[in-house]
C-alpha cells in the first residue's frame, strides 16, 4: 500500500471547519475576515530567477498551517514574506487584512516571530540570547521562558553555543517567544534535529498553539504537516499547487501534488 493511500484513509483530525484556504481562481482583494495572511499577485524574482508566482492564496486565521513542497520550491521565501525578512518583487501581502508593506517591519516581526532551520546561538549565555529579544527580561522572566520550552533554570547561565542542537533550537524557540508574538513561523525548524528533539519541538509548538499562538510550519515532510497542521499549502515550482484542509488535500491530491507526496513517502 502506498503512503498516499495510507494517508488518505486517515481522517477525522480536523477541528472546526474552515473553508478552502486558497482559492486559486478567486478575485484578489482585501476583506477576507478568515485570513491571517493573504497573498495577491505575488512575484518574487531573485537574480533573474522566478522564485514565487502566486496569483492568490491565504493562510487562515484559525489553526496551524503547513507550507509543504519539494526543496527549492519557494516555501521558505513565502514564509520570509510573512515577517518581511524579504519583500515581493510585485504583489501585495496582507496581514489581518492590512497591507504588510505599510506596517512597521520591526513591530511586525515582534508579533510574527520566526524560528529558523539551523538553531542559531547568538554570542553569550542562554539568558543573553533571550535578552536579545527583550533586554528588560529579569532572571525570573528568563526562567519562565526557559520552562516554557522544557529547559531547566540552570541552563540560563550556560554558553548558548555549547548546547546540543536540540537544546539550541529550544533556546531559539524561547528567544522568539520572548517578544510575545501571536504568530510563530517555523522554517524547517526540526529538519536539522534528531527525531527525539524534533518530536519535542513539535510538542512544544502544539502547546503554544493551544494557548492561542498561530503556528505556520514550513516543511518538506508531508507526514510532519499531517501531524502538526490543519491547513496546508502545497508549493511546487514557486506556485501554490493545492491548498486546503490537510485531510481534503490528502484525500484528493492533484497529479503533481500526488507525485510530490509519493516521492516523500517512498
Amino acid at each position: 500500500m502506498s503512503g498516499v493511500h495510507r494517508l488518505l484513509r486517515q481522517k477525522g483530525r480536523l477541528r472546526g471547519s474552515p473553508g478552502v484556504v486558497a482559492r486559486l481562481a478567486a478575485p484578489p482583494g482585501p476583506g477576507d475576515p478568515t485570513a491571517l495572511f493573504s497573498f495577491d499577485g505575488i512575484q518574487v524574482v531573485r537574480a533573474g530567477r522566478q522564485v514565487l508566482d502566486i496569483d492568490h492564496a491565504t493562510i487562515p486565521l484559525r489553526g496551524a498551517t503547513g507550507i509543504v513542497g519539494p526543496s527549492g520550491a519557494g516555501k521558505s521565501t513565502l514564509l520570509r514574506l510573512c515577517n518581511r525578512l524579504e519583500s515581493p518583487s510585485a504583489g501585495i501581502v496582507r496581514f489581518r487584512n492590512g497591507d504588510l508593506a505599510a506596517t512597521d517591519p520591526l513591530q511586525h516581526r515582534r508579533d510574527v516571530a520566526m524560528v529558523f532551520q539551523h538553531p542559531v546561538a547568538l554570542p553569550g549565555t542562554v539568558a543573553d540570547n533571550l535578552r536579545e529579544a527583550d533586554p528588560t527580561l529579569d532572571d525570573a522572566a528568563v526562567e519562565v521562558g526557559l520552562a516554557a520550552v522544557g529547559l531547566p533554570a540552570d541552563v540560563a547561565t550556560r554558553v548558548a553555543d555549547e548546547l546540543s542542537g536540540g537544546e539550541r533550537q529550544r533556546v531559539s524557540l524561547a528567544r522568539s517567544m520572548a517578544t510575545r508574538p501571536h504568530v510563530l513561523l517555523l522554517d524547517e525548524a526540526t529538519s536539522a534535529l534528531d527525531a527525539t528533539s524534533a518530536g519535542r519541538i513539535e510538542t512544544l509548538v502544539g502547546t503554544l498553539a493551544a494557548s492561542g499562538i498561530i503556528p505556520i510550519w514550513v516543511s518538506h515532510d508531508i507526514e510532519q504537516v499531517r501531524r502538526v497542521a490543519e491547513h496546508v499549502l502545497v508549493i511546487i515550482d514557486g506556485r501554490v499547487a493545492q491548498a486546503g484542509p490537510v485531510d481534503q488535500v490528502l484525500a484528493g491530491p492533484r497529479p503533481d501534488v500526488r507525485r510530490f507526496i509519493e516521492g516523500t513517502m517512498s
Partner: protein
Amino acid sequence: MSTSSIGLGGVAASLVLIVVAIVLSLRNRLGLERTIAWATFRAFVQLAVIGAALGLVLSPNASLLWSYLWVVAMIVVGGATVANRAKEVPGLFWLAILALTVAEGVSLAVVFGLGIFPLESRTIVPTAGLLLGNAISSTVLAARRSVTELREHRAQIEVRLSLGQAGPDAVRPHVREALRTAVTPQIEQTKIVGLVALPGAMTGLLLAGVKPLAAVEVQSAVMFLILGSVVITSVVVGQGVAHRLLTPEHQLDATLGS
C-alpha cells in the same frame, strides 16, 4: 634645512640593484625579468611625470587652487583604486570617495588649522598624498571585511532582525569586527614604529640630511595623522557598506548571498 639630491647619475647607479634582481630571476628561472624591467620603467616614468607636474603645482608663485585640485584628483584615483581592488563590494567607488574626502578634510583641517605644518603647496600635496596612500589598503580591507562578516553571519543577523532589532543594531557586532580587522594593521604598525623599520617619511628626511630629532617630530605627526585617517576611512566605509547592504525595511540585501 639642508637638502640633497642624488642626481640622475645616482638614479642610474641604483639601477644596478635592478640588474641584480633580473640576473637572479634569470638564474633561478623565476620568469620575472620582463615584469621587473617593466615595473621599473613604469615607476620611473610615472614619478618623472608626477615630478614635472608637482614642479608646476609646488612652484612658489602657483595658486594654492592647483594644490587643492591635485588633492581632489588623488582622491578620485584613490576611490577608483579601492573600488577596483574590492570589486565584490557594490557601489564602493562613491563610498570610497566619500570616506577619503572625509578623512582628508578632517586631517588637513587639523594639520593646517592647528598650524602643524604651514599652509603651502609644498605641504598640502605631500601630506594629502601620504594620508591617502596609507588609507587605501585599510579602506579596501574595511570594505571587504564588512561584506564578508555580514555574509558569514547572515544567520545571526537575520535572527536579530526577526526579533525586531533595527538593521543597524543587528549588523553592529559584525561591522565592529570588520573595522577592528581593518585598522589593526595600522595600530600594530604604529606600536612598532622605528623598532623594526624606519618609516618612509623619516627615512626620506634622514636621507635628505635632516637631523634625526627633527625627522622624528615630523614622523610622529605623520604617524598620528595616518592612524587618524585610517580609522576615519575605515569607519565611514564599514558603516557605508552596512548601510548599503540593509534595505529601508530592515532586511539584508538579497545580493549579499550566503
